[in-house]
């Protein structure tokens, strides 16, 4: 099987800070790759280079064998690589349907010639998308700021799923959530994985990582400190890698 994402020896520095120093990784469909490391180890920098937010100083990023280094975030997203940042970037004052469609809204015609937003389709599709993910939201007409943290996370994820993401990158998706909501998100990750989506999962919580991931890649001050199959490692070893020992 060929990898979905290949990161080859990327470097990135900000002034005197070397945030990534020769990081390489591969991500396959249907697997969860955890990115671990201390604060400032370079995890967010690496995924931002994949999603096009940062351009690497050197090295390449490919998607299904095609070099995508240098593409901007919209182009990367259109390829099917969705990134969910920690702040989620939902439009809190708008409803679920619009949040899933924002930027790609369907239109219809009123009186046969006046183009208007097709809110009904957005709402119906939202119901379907959420149902597919096993999420229940009682009132889809309310602004998403009234939803729980887990539901909001689910909306961000269902947006990715609705647009048929092949790669899903999640930067600390459970950090701000309560225990039941963390559970929901982890279950969602399991279901997406079963559908063949490749997932990069950043977390500081080793329990979560060991629960959902297949492989783990540890970064230490911008360098790759090690890469292990989850089934062949344990928390002690990972902590040692994170501390550079």
């Amino acid at each position: 099987m060929k990898p979905l994402i290949t990161v080859d020896n990327v470097h990135k520095h900000f002034g005197g800070t070397y945030a990534a120093r020769g990081v390489s990784l591969e991500l396959y469909g249907g697997e969860v790759l955890a990115l671990a490391g201390d604060n400032g180890a370079g995890k967010s920098t690496v995924i931002k280079m994949i999603s096009g937010v940062y351009q690497p100083d050197s090295g390449t990023i490919s998607y299904q064998g095609e070099n995508i280094t240098g593409k901007n975030p919209y182009e990367v997203r259109d390829l099917g690589i969705e990134t969910i940042y920690q702040d989620l970037a939902l439009a809190d004052n708008l409803d679920v349907g619009i949040n899933i469609f924002l930027g790609r809204e369907p239109m219809k015609r009123r009186l046969g010639f006046i183009p208007v937003l097709d809110r009904k389709t957005m709402r119906q599709e939202a119901i379907r998308a959420l149902k597919d993910l096993g999420i229940v939201v009682n009132d889809l007409s309310i602004p998403v700021r009234y939803l729980s943290g887990g539901q909001r996370q689910a909306i961000a994820i269902s947006r990715a799923v609705y647009w048929k993401a092949k790669v899903l990158i999640m930067d600390e998706p459970t950090a701000a959530l309560g225990v039941p909501e963390q559970r929901e998100v982890k279950e969602l990750i399991g279901r997406l994985k079963a559908q063949g989506v490749g997932i990069i999962f950043i977390s500081h919580n080793l329990n979560d990582i060991f629960e959902v991931s297949d492989r783990i890649l540890v970064l230490e001050r911008g360098r790759k400190a090690g890469e292990r199959l989850i089934s062949e490692t344990d928390e002690d070893e990972v902590v040692k890698l994170m501390m550079g020992r």
Binding site: L90, N93, G103, P115
Partner: protein, 334 residues
Amino acid sequence: MRILRLLTGAWSWLFLLFILIFFEVWSHVTYGRTFFGNIFNAQSILLAATQILMMALGLTFIIISAGIDLSIGFIAGLSAVTMAVVIRALDPHLAPGWSFLAGISAAVLISLIPGFINGWMIAKLKVPSFIGTLGMFGIARGAAFLIADGATVSIRNPVAREFGNGRVIFDLVPIPVLIAIIVTLTFHYLLSSTKFGLYVYAMGGNYASAVRAGVNTTRLTIIIFMISAFTASLMGLFYTGRFSAGAGDAGEPILLNAVAAVFIGGASLTGGSGTIIGTVIGSLIIAVIQFGLVFINVPPFWQFVAVGLVIIIAVLIDQSRDRLTGMSGQEEGA
């Protein structure tokens, strides 16, 4: 809960109805005649509401996007004097219709310049809109008085006079009111039914969400400040038409009423909510209060007090909406 949500959402409609009934009853009891049923009263109220609405219309877009535009009062003045100066200069050489057309075109075009600069400053230079448009307030004011040479510019153009004072549709509807209705419907459509309008809400709700969705927020910001300048310039045109004279401070007294109309109409200070229909109701409420108080012989300064009270009530209701129902009404309309 649903009922509460509906009531708090619809309070401005109910309030408008309430003050209309109040003045109607008062009028019957004291003068033995109708208040709103009188065509002259109704037309005067609608004309006053049109003035407020023209400034408030564009402002609604700005406030939904979580900004403010303080410069519209003097942009209206700039438009009013530009129209008057151009008509005055051309009248000896052209037919009145042509000089009128040249006057209103020049006024609208000149007014779009400060609108563009506002948007550009705010989007590109990241100047907070309160500060940026306060600066433009001073600049547009200076420009208006400079163009008018510090005085009122009077004109004698029959087409302009008809534009400001004429009536159509069985001699019932003042021309400015008719134009205002058409402009309002257009902007209502833009805000409620197009991607453009949706992105204004998204930008006001969470700037990052709009950026992430691929919205060109710089362009969007410039466009909404140009819309704001455009509707303010219409207010200036109506002023010059109505009084056959342009004045630099034509729109200045209306600014606060326009801001009030948008908030009474359900917009929130933090952005992300508000509707054109709400703003129309807000403008009507203020116009009815102003005209009604004069009608029942209350000294005119009480208008300020009354409008001030309504603004405070509006804000209180906006806040209690969240507390009472866990919902904020007048969200982006479905």
